[in-house]
Amino acid sequence: MKVLQFLFTSSIGRKVLMALTGLFLILFLVIHLMGNLQLLKHDEGYAFNKYAWFMTSNPLIKTVSYLLYATILLHAFKGLYLVFANRKARGAKSYGSYNGNANSHWTSRNMGILGTLILAFIIGHMSDFWWEYKFGDIPWTKYETSITDESTMVTDITSENHGVHIRMGVAGDKEVFITKDLYKETVEAFEEGWLVALYLLAMAAIAFHLWHGFSSAFQTLGMNHPRWNPLINGLGKAFSILVPLGFAIIPLYVYLLK
């Protein structure tokens, strides 16, 4: 591993580590959004719950998810370390007047603050849903899909879920899926106006973080080329608006229309 030591010891290495972990998190956002958009379906959570079950039981995905948790921690704490190390580089005295807006975008100068907001959001978000889904006491639902006419019957089985072992199987002419109902948990959570407001704020923080972060990662990795820059910058700006917007639509939709 000595060959990769520079990722932790040199200024450029640390930047490269931030860029690589950042790009991995960007990729994760796409996957996460694609999954979440199933919350908008009018199927009483069948597709979303099936997806949630797959994501938490598939061994390959579980492995990647541990890598993801490690990446989030590495990106967040390495980033915070850099913020303080960089502040120290200014020296004991700072400027009496400093006009940063004249030469740079405010998002680029506040990645640490935006990142801290996002970290706080992730902690709240994980305890809201991830922790609840894994260890919490959340509602159970049984979906019975007829094989012949593909109609689905949905039953709330919260009171009688004890001893449930078979999660998915075929009984007679029906496909039965019994699950913790993360869909219901989510919809109930987003009936709270203050929580929806917090989620929207967090999405704004992510948007601003990405506004600088997306193209910055490419620059750090040495990808600065006159032919590619317009594509990278354009893609970065579009991504930083569209992806957080996609996430924001879900709580808004639930709160306003469900």
Binding site: G91, A92, S108, H212
Partner: protein
């Protein structure tokens, strides 16, 4: 142009030596010509201070034609003041308005300690250059021109990087006090050309190590350095240095 004299208020950082606590002092100049350079305005201030029996403001300056990189002044929150692509000596008082208050500070970086008033010690840059910013071959006699072919656009890029005057505005502007634009300009200038390519791996590692040792911050890609650079050194140089560095770390023997 028969422009009228301006009144200028100055808030200048005064610090007797590197160890002393400094503070801002306020001065008023009543007869400032709009055609003066910013440094000439400081000459007038110092004349006035000496006449009044005070201590003149120490500030660095040399060529006064924008090529030496000495005139390090942080003016109204920006290195070399409000204009793009110039040094302080190329800034004229017509860029300000009659009655303006102008704040003038030294470069602020842990690696650039204040010597006195507005004058800072930039020898950290010299040590970075000494660590590898050169080509160590015996040149012998001058060779024939064009005996080594260099594509024009490569030569142009190397030359653009070589226009860096080592003034330190990049460090001063950067919120992280990062010297990456300076170091990357030197790394680029040499690694683009065949004469410098021979030592590219050792050079980039040595120079980045020295940069880190001097206590400069790391890069957040804010772009402030390039925007404030009097020679408008491009950010693509930093990308090139990152590339060179990672390449050297991963593949050099």
């Amino acid at each position: 142009m028969g422009s009228e004299a301006m009144k200028i208020n100055l808030k200048v950082w005064r610090q007797p030596n590197s160890k002393a606590e400094g503070k801002f002092e306020t001065y008023q100049l009543n007869e400032v010509s709009p055609d003066m350079s910013f440094l000439e305005m400081f000459d007038v201030l110092n004349e006035q201070l000496i006449t009044d029996g005070g201590e003149p403001v120490a500030f660095d300056h040399d060529c006064r034609e924008g090529i030496c990189g000495m005139c390090s002044m942080f003016i109204n929150g920006r290195p070399h003041g409000p204009k793009q692509g110039i040094t302080t000596c190329q800034l004229h008082m017509r860029s300000f308005k009659d009655g303006d208050t102008i704040v003038v500070e030294p470069w602020r970086a842990q690696s650039f300690p204040v010597i006195k008033d507005l004058s800072v010690d930039r020898s950290a840059f010299d040590r970075i250059i000494a660590s590898g910013g050169f080509v160590s071959v015996n040149t012998g006699n001058a060779v024939d021109a064009n005996s080594i072919l260099i594509p024009k656009d490569t030569a142009d890029e190397a030359f653009a990087a070589a226009t860096c005057i080592g003034c330190g505005a990049c460090v001063a502007a950067c919120k992280n006090s990062s010297a990456m634009l300076f170091v990357s300009a030197k790394v680029s200038q040499l690694s683009l050309l065949p004469q410098g390519k021979a030592e590219r791996e050792n050079r980039v590692i040595a120079m980045v190590d020295q940069m880190d040792k001097e206590g400069f911050g790391s890069c957040t890609n804010t772009g402030a350095c390039s925007a404030e650079c009097p020679k408008e050194i491009d950010l693509s140089n930093i990308a090139r240095m990152n590339r060179e560095y990672v390449r050297a770390k991963l593949v050099s023997k």
